[in-house]
């Protein structure tokens, strides 16, 4: 009758995020409800799934809200200048091919000031995983218009609404020659994790666009609702017209962007071809 029940806390939780965080830095600086936190969880989970050693992991980040995300990861982190994380990462990967190099960058960082670096990194197809956190605004500097701000959005520099067309980053990376291109929402966390995991596994330049939320600046100025409403609204309030997406007649996901892996090619990886050439020259086969 009086059955003894021994309660034992199970320690083998498959993924404990606090093993991968710099706990002394917490709580982090991001606003309440910012989607970057969810994207960070997905990245760390994917790193955990891939079984990557923290000492062999280099996180390179630029400037902006997305740039600060990298500083919370307990690994080798590299906080670089505005727009240039891909350039720094290219040098790092060429010098230390044994490292897993992950670039965390934002929409303004990657597409506006660092647009050239993106297309050339994609062209070379060096083994880097580039995570672009697309929150459609310059959040840290006060909410200026960014290349991915949708039409008619109010920002501090477009007080009457944005009239510029948006930049489809995934299509740009695809056209520039990236070997792996994918896009996912932060609310689809398991799918985002799997996508990043696939990108980390891929040998070559993998470009992953994460559709994140800016609740405090973008959301508040445009009356997009609370953080929870913005996260939930991701699935239905996406803008296919702006992204030149013609897949609008999907029965269960009407009017949404297309997600998932767009490109997965077997182009030669730049670091491997480069080192093969160096070997040939050092052996004197090629002058």
């Amino acid at each position: 009758m009086n059955k003894q029940v021994a309660i034992k806390a199970e320690t083998s939780k498959d993924f404990e995020i606090r093993d991968y965080l710099r706990l002394d830095q917490f709580p982090h600086f991001m606003c309440p409800g910012c989607g970057h936190g969810i994207a960070l969880r997905a990245l760390l989970w994917a790193i955990h799934e891939q079984g990557i050693d923290k000492n062999k992991l280099a996180i390179v980040s630029g400037i902006g809200c997305s740039g600060r995300v990298g500083t919370y990861i307990d690994a080798n982190t590299y906080h670089t200048t505005h727009g240039r994380p891909l350039a720094f990462a290219t040098g790092l990967k060429m010098a230390r091919p044994d490292l897993h190099v992950v670039v965390i960058t934002g929409d303004g960082d990657c597409l506006a000031i660092g647009g050239n670096h993106l297309i050339h990194a994609a062209r070379r197809n060096l083994d880097i995983t580039c995570l672009m956190l697309n929150n459609e605004i310059y959040g840290m500097t006060g909410g200026q218009v960014s290349p991915t701000t949708p039409h008619d959005r109010y920002t501090t520099t477009t007080p009457a609404g944005n009239v510029e067309p948006v930049f489809d980053a995934s299509r740009l990376a695809e056209a520039a020659g990236a070997g792996f291109v994918g896009r996912e929402l932060t609310i689809h966390l398991p799918r985002l994790r799997d996508l990043i995991s696939e990108g980390l596994e891929y040998k070559g330049f993998s470009f992953i666009e994460v559709m994140s939320d800016c609740t405090e600046i973008n959301g508040r100025k445009n009356d997009l609702g609370s953080s929870a409403e913005m996260v939930l609204g991701q699935t239905r309030a996406m803008r296919p017209n702006e992204y030149d997406n013609n897949v609008v007649d999907q029965p269960f996901r009407p009017n949404s962007m297309d997600m998932g892996v767009f490109v997965r090619s077997d182009r030669p990886e730049y670091g491997a071809t480069y080192r093969a050439m160096v070997d040939q020259i050092s052996k004197g086969q090629k002058s």
Binding site: K3, P27, R41, A228
Partner: protein, 314 residues
């Protein structure tokens, strides 16, 4: 009258009536129920076609469409010399054919008291709505009634695992034809007419299997009525699978929480609240199912869910 039996024929009448619409003023009512995709409409179409071929007036009405693949489907077939209304009134169905066990139980009140014949497949299709409780180890909301519980409620009842028998015969989807065979024993229509119509209406590749299971269905009911031991899968009671009583604890690091409200709004069980300090708090720990949604979507990593396994010590 009705005698109890151990096998799947739950209750049989010693002198079973043969329903004949000839010369009767009232129409004969057959109610066919099941789940979308099982072939309810097909059964009713075959029956209606036969009645038409034999020169009776037939009215059939059905609910389908949205029910395709998993929802409730029912079909009323009324035939006789004069049929006015297309639907069967409650308590007036002469035969109830159920292609799914719980559906059969649900529609039992349509059977004519005293003479109604109940023929049910014991296959269970548990609807998603019955698994609504997300707590691990929770009971599913599916009927636990066994054929023994049905015995008192109807005059004559048969519970046969038609799906299993049809699978053995070569095609699982021929289960509806097997029940047609069972139905044919209650009516006076000639067997040739049944077989001719079935062969015309089923896909050409499956005619052979369908005619074979039609014979099986007839044999099963006739054998049960004569009291012979008939082959057929026995009724297996629904057993809840044993699940380790896994409970979870939800830990919230208050200093990290910024009160963004995502966990409160996203929780399917609504067991989290924002307290007066604008910090998330687990208000109803018993309701928490450990689904991890709040943990995964917390941008501040403030929530962590840890499983606790309760091990019974003898």
């Amino acid at each position: 009258m009705a005698k109890a039996k151990k096998d799947n024929s739950i209750a049989v009448l010693t002198d079973p009536p043969k329903l004949d619409p000839k010369g009767m003023k009232e129409p004969i009512n057959v109610l066919i129920v099941g789940v979308g995709g099982q072939g309810v409409i097909m059964v009713s179409k075959v029956l209606a076609q036969i009645c038409q071929n034999l020169g009776y007036q037939v009215k059939q009405s059905e609910v389908h469409g949205m029910a395709k693949r998993g929802g409730v489907v029912f079909s009323h077939v009324r035939f006789g010399n004069n049929v006015w209304s297309p639907t069967i009134p409650m308590g007036k169905a002469d035969v109830l054919i159920a292609l799914e066990w719980a559906e059969g139980l649900r529609w039992m009140n349509y059977l004519r008291p005293g003479t109604g014949i109940f023929i049910a497949d014991t296959k269970r299709i548990v609807p998603p709505f019955a698994c609504r409780s997300r707590i691990l180890g929770a009971d599913i909301g599916y009927s636990r009634d066994t054929p023994d519980d049905v015995r008192e409620k109807v005059a004559e009842a048969f519970a046969l695992d038609a799906t299993e028998m049809a699978t053995k015969a070569g095609n699982e989807r021929a289960a509806n034809t097997l029940l047609l065979g069972a139905l044919s024993t209650t009516l006076t229509f000639p067997v040739e007419e049944w077989k001719k119509t079935i062969a015309k209406m089923v896909p050409p590749k499956t005619v052979e299997v369908n005619l074979a299971v039609f014979d099986q269905g007839q044999y099963w009911i006739d054998g049960s009525r004569k009291g012979e031991p008939v082959e057929g899968a026995a009724f297996v009671p629904l057993v809840q699978p044993e699940i380790n009583s896994v409970r979870t604890t939800l830990e919230i690091t208050d200093e990290w929480c910024k009160g963004c409200d995502i966990c409160v709004k996203m929780c399917p069980e609504r067991c989290l609240i924002l307290n007066k300090d604008q910090v998330a708090e687990l208000a109803e720990p018993d309701k928490c199912t450990g689904c991890h949604i709040c943990e995964w979507l917390c941008p501040d990593f403030a929530i962590s869910i840890n499983p606790i396994i309760q091990e019974a010590v003898a």
